[in-house]
């Protein structure tokens, strides 16, 4: 069915002319001056947020909206470089046990109250350390937060801790206004759904099930910005309907792969739309296979290695992800250049003979019916793509004599099965790296991260003294170089023991109208504040 409303040649000709223009005079394209005004309509994805501040909820849909309303102390620039936001400068002491932040002066909350160091101290003590899912681990080294004056915040540490600076952006550690949260129940504070921040956009209204409206913050500290008058998030639950909304021009922006992968090729051909793959590096999203190492057969590392040998990762990415993914080689993704180990890790290239030999050796010979063993395979219910992953794995394993029974269930049941009951053999699931292996890897490889009931924790039940030693040494590494070196060893150990392995580096995509200009495509672009973004008329 032809979805384009206008004859395609007109647009193509315009685009060609534009491309030629850019090629002939690159200076001209840069000279485009931002236009003030306009309403950018985005689609909220995945789903509708439950609150509007990442202070109390870190789902993807919350992060997307909250990042327009709130600032962090620091922000990520290109290639994970730290840049100032609410903090204009930060100094780590020589012994690494003190980090001193200088705050930006004359910043006001959207209700007019001044932003001071007291807000940071309050957010650290009452919000991050009490109701944030990961902060207690991230800030474990922090002994106290001191506020010598309204524009200075000092983190006093028990030991050097490189991870802290990686976690102070607005999405991971949101600064909430003390004057509206002090003395209240943080989780049910009414301002969670009508947020007051310091960011470029102010909250206007939230009609549940329908839209969230934000408007320009006229007192934003970055004078002259933002360019947009309004940002509106619409709730469109159906993927095909979302694509129709993009096609009809009703929606300009959607993150987290807002349309089905089957519509992606069509979107790429549509001159009114752009497909953007950058901006997801901070999220570090990957598709992962994970074993239950508590019980046979996967308590035996040879069986785990046999499974990885049995899977053609190139074909996996090509067949199940239409080639947009990238075969995984390490639990850290290649986009995290600082920590990623390019070569030298144990690897398990596609080799069925090797897989069969390992299974023979482990005591699982082929029986009369050709089967070696029977296992269950649960796929994470994050949409049909994971079912495809499961089906691919089932076929791969069948070839080496492992009969996998695919099981499907809804998300609450999946969480319960994997993290509460530990009643599974092999799962295909998702992993977020969150910029720093101390946040992303500890929780799946550290024995202290085997936490009953907690989703995305060490569900495999993997506990290795060697691994624990590496992780715990990294936590107190004196210098950042040492910490990086230790996390490289963590990757080596993980690949050796394979309690889980990266099937593919996931590539998520943003769909954006060609009218949208200067969209941030940095490592955390999808959670950018949109302060530099503008709409061409």
């Amino acid at each position: 069915m032809a979805l384009t409303a206008f004859p395609a040649w007109t647009d193509r000709r315009t685009v060609c002319a534009m491309l030629i223009g850019i090629a002939l005079a690159p200076g001209l394209a840069r000279a485009e001056t931002p236009v003030r005004g306009g309403t950018l309509v985005a689609v909220s994805n995945p789903g509708e947020p439950n609150v509007l501040t990442t202070g109390v909820g870190q789902a993807g849909a919350v992060l997307a909206v909250s990042s327009k309303i709130f600032d962090g102390l620091l922000r990520y620039g290109e290639n994970f470089a730290l840049e100032p936001e609410l903090a204009t400068a930060w100094v780590t002491s020589a012994d690494g046990k003190e980090i001193r932040f200088t705050l930006r002066p004359n910043v006001r909350w959207h209700d007019g109250a001044p932003f001071t160091s007291a807000d940071v101290k309050f957010s650290f003590e009452q919000v991050w350390m009490k109701v944030h899912p990961r902060a207690r681990a991230t800030f474990a080294a922090v002994e106290a937060v001191e506020t010598p004056d309204p524009l200075t915040v000092v983190f006093k540490l028990r030991n050097p801790s490189g991870v802290i600076l990686s976690a102070l952006n607005s999405t991971e550690s949101t600064v909430l206004p003390k004057h509206l949260y002090e003395g209240t129940d943080i989780l049910t504070n009414p301002y969670n759904v009508k947020p007051v921040g310091t960011g470029p956009f102010r909250f206007v209204e939230w009609v549940r099930g329908e839209r969230i409206v934000l408007e320009r913050n006229p007192d934003y500290w970055d004078t002259g910005k933002p360019y947009l008058d309004r940002v509106i998030y619409r709730m469109i639950p159906d993927a095909t309907a979302r694509y129709a909304a993009f096609e009809s021009g009703a929606v300009h922006l959607g993150v987290h792969s807002p349309i089905s992968i089957n519509d992606l090729a069509r979107a790429e051909k549509n001159p009114a739309l752009r497909v953007e793959f950058r901006g997801y590096e901070w999220l570090g999203s990957s598709i992962v296979g994970e074993f239950n190492v508590r019980r046979p057969p996967f308590d035996d590392v040879r069986v785990r290695r046999a499974v990885v040998h049995a899977i053609d990762l190139q074909a996996f990415s090509r067949v199940t992800m239409r080639g947009i993914g990238k075969p995984g080689t390490s639990p850290v993704l290649s986009s995290q250049t600082k920590f990623f180990v390019e070569s030298g890790l144990a690897s398990y290239p596609f080799d069925r003979a090797k897989a069969e030999a390992l299974l023979d050796e482990a005591g699982y010979p082929r029986k009369a019916d050709g089967k070696r063993l029977e296992i269950t395979l649960d796929w994470l219910p994050f949409g049909e793509s994971f079912q495809r992953f499961g089906e691919f794995l089932k076929q791969s394993l069948k070839a080496v004599g492992i009969e996998a029974t695919l099981r499907s269930q809804d998300l609450p049941q999946f969480f319960r099965r994997v993290y509460s009951l530990n009643d599974f053999d092999f799962i295909v699931t998702h992993h977020s790296g969150f910029a720093d292996p101390q946040i992303g890897l500890d929780r799946v490889f550290w024995s202290k991260a085997i936490l009953k009931d907690v989703p995305w924790s060490n569900g495999s039940g993997y506990a290795s003294p060697a691994m624990d030693r590496l992780i715990e040494a990294a936590h107190i590494a004196a210098t950042e170089d040492q910490r990086v070196a230790l996390y490289k060893q963590v990757q080596a150990q993980a690949q050796l023991d394979v309690p889980r392995f990266t099937l593919a580096e996931n590539r998520q995509y943003t769909i954006v109208s060609a009218r949208v200009r200067d969209l941030d495509t940095g490592v955390i672009g999808i959670y950018d504040s949109l302060k530099n973004t503008w709409l061409a008329p």
Partner: protein, 339 residues
Amino acid sequence: MTSAAPAATGPSARPHSTGRYVGLRLLQMVPTLLLILVTAFLLLKLAPGDAAQVLAGDSGGGDAAYIATLRQRFGLDQPIAIQLLLYARNVLTGELGFSFRNNMPVAELIAARVVPTLLLTGLALLVAVLLGVAGGVTAALTRGRLADRLIGAIALLLYATPGFLLGIGLMILFGVVLLWLPTGGYADANGAAEGWAHAGSVARHLVLPVVTLGMLYAAIYSRFTRSAMIEIYAQDYIRTARAKGLAPARIAWRHGVRNALLPLVTIIGLQAGSLLSGAIVVETVFAWPGLGRLAFEAVQQRDYNLLSGLVLCTGALVVITNLIVDLLYATLDPRVRLR
């Protein structure tokens, strides 16, 4: 519904007893709804998984303290019996509880969705009845001829089409290719319009979902009307009316349709619940902020308080619809006495 029985009594008794009848029926609603409430609550609790875990999953994990904090805030650390008692006490005092997931009182969440839901299902029902009756009567009067066959084929096709497919087809045609109508939503996204402009915007957004939902039910209603009309046309009183020399249109309307509406009204009453749940698909496709979508999301998130509130609310809607149906019987057929 069952309490309405045909009986040959004078119409003079009716106006006096209707008020009492309605009062009695409303009173009977209370135990019915309480039973619905308890059953729903226990059934929901039987579903594996819990809200705290889902929320933690959304947030990218956490530690044991995080889950414990959430459980305690949600009241999930209490035994089920205590949870049920606390909930029942809240409901009896007119308090539907707090949706921790959405950070809002349940009553507010539901109230915001009632108007869109009633707009969508009410208008869809109207479209379904008008199209269904018109189609059914035409088919019956042209029995065996081309018009009948055509109507039958269209009805069958619509009935066999999944709701989402019909919705997406109409959306792509009218929303993307022709650009006549918005592809979804309740009103224009910037929400700046007021008064008549707002109403107009809502009306434009209503067209596709109402037509989609209405057509699906029109297909069913047209088949019912057709068979009822054919049966009625075999009755003696139709022959009598013909013999009196009445105009065919008058026979069809006064003697045919009015009688055919009785079984149709029964079906509508029985399908009130299915209309509300059938709306989930249409609400999802057209991003319509209705109760069905809210319920679907609440199940996904194990938001017990919200779900119990929704079950109570939709239960009440179904009971009230059935009451209205019973009252309609008496209006359509003077022989029906309410008691």
